[in-house]
């Protein structure tokens, strides 16, 4: 997921982060604003609810500002932000799992988005049945990831959603590269054993 990478690289190469670490809130706002859309799309890919995704992004950026002194530039700033986003997301998942199920938790926004997609996407040549099947397959994979332990989810999502390298993942999570390799292997192995039917998501559609 590469979004406005040139803009983000320009911000990272500047001295804005240094100024932000010195306590300059305006410099931090300028740096973080370049990552806002990217973070939001990553959050939507995780929780598929745009309202929740906006909450997660706001919490992530506020949390990043408060703990900016801990960012030691051993990984990209975007990777560090994504690690915070993952932490907030997994916390939200635990909070939702501990609550009793109610109609308020039903993803109404997702259903509306699917209906809109079914109305607009036939121009691309897919039938509504194909689109619905693809969405269901997306949900299957998302639910399979959610069944993994937190430590495996973090490594897997940092690798495939943030496109972070192994040393960057290790720096963002505070563990060794060997641990990251092992967790990535176990995460993929567990997903493979779930025998998911992923024909719609393999890029064949």
């Amino acid at each position: 997921m590469v979004i406005a990478a040139d803009r983000i690289d320009a911000c990272e190469s500047s001295l804005l982060l240094t100024q932000a670490r010195a306590g300059d809130a305006e410099a931090f706002c300028e740096v973080a604003q370049a990552h806002e859309t990217r973070l939001f799309r990553q959050a939507v890919a995780l929780c598929r609810d745009e309202a929740v995704a906006e909450d997660l992004v706001a919490e992530t950026l506020i949390n990043a500002w408060r703990s900016l002194a801990r960012f030691d530039a051993t990984c990209r700033f975007s990777t560090w932000l994504y690690a915070i986003l993952l932490h907030r997301y997994l916390k939200w998942v635990r909070r939702m799992a501990s609550r009793p199920a109610s109609l308020a938790q039903f993803p109404v926004a997702e259903v509306q988005r699917r209906q809109q997609a079914q109305e607009t996407l036939p121009d691309l040549g897919d039938s509504p049945a194909d689109i619905a099947a693809s969405q269901d397959t997306t949900d299957v994979l998302r639910q399979a990831i959610a069944r993994l332990p937190d430590k495996h989810q973090r490594v897997l999502l940092l690798r495939f959603f943030e496109d972070a390298s192994l040393p960057e993942i290790a720096a963002a999570l505070g563990c060794s590269v060997g641990t990251v390799k092992s967790r990535l292997h176990h995460a993929l192995e567990k997903l493979r054993r779930m025998k998911l039917n992923l024909s719609e998501l393999r890029g064949d559609t």
Binding site: M1, V44, W65, A69, R70, L156, S165, E189, L191, L201
Partner: protein, 189 residues
């Protein structure tokens, strides 16, 4: 395909094959893994399964590439950032300790151990200390305690009673009264 019955030569390659499928294997290690894959059909199938999984994961990450945040999102977090100062070292340390306690209490076993420990601590604080015990001097032998209990004048004969009652007034015995004392009529008879 269960990993448990894989040969050792295959099992040692599985992690590198997973890294290769996810695009995270270092370039200098590619040749060794590919040499093994050329000889092992089972590991090739394993690589193909993981590669399809990796493609699916990348497709999932692209599933939200068209969504845009609302214009109010930026104003929302920027207002909070401008209002909130960066945390200093001491507050971060307190936050880390609290986060550790919360993580500890999330597991029922550790929460139970913490509850038992707090209960023991509570009783130790609320019970009198050893130095404040009304019994001074060496602890009497169990036989002496029994004989003292059988003595009708107990505990007035004890040293501790004199120390606790320096005025010399007789204190009531701690033993229960005979039934006859509760019933004056029977006692007179």
């Amino acid at each position: 395909m269960n990993v448990s019955w894989l040969s050792n030569s295959c099992r040692r390659w599985r992690r590198d094959i997973a890294l290769l499928a996810s695009g995270a294997l270092a370039e200098e290690e590619h040749s060794q893994v590919k040499a093994h894959l050329a000889d092992c059909a089972r590991c090739r199938r394993y690589r193909d399964e993981l590669s399809r999984l990796a493609v699916s994961l990348e497709s999932l990450s692209q599933s939200s590439r068209d969504v845009e945040p609302s214009p109010a999102l930026g104003a929302r977090w920027m207002r909070a950032v401008r209002a909130a100062p960066q945390s200093n070292r001491s507050s971060r340390a307190v936050g880390a300790v609290l986060a550790g306690v919360r993580a500890l209490l999330r597991h029922p076993v550790w929460a139970g151990i913490a509850a038992v420990w707090l209960a023991i601590l509570f009783f130790q604080v609320t019970s009198p200390a050893v130095g404040e015990s009304p019994i001074t001097g060496p602890m009497p032998a169990p036989r002496e305690i029994y004989l003292a209990w059988c003595d009708p004048d107990w505990p007035r004969t004890g040293v501790a009673d004199e120390a606790a009652n320096p005025s010399g007034r007789e204190s009531k015995p701690l033993r229960p009264k005979p039934r006859s004392e509760h019933r004056p009529g029977l006692g007179a008879a």
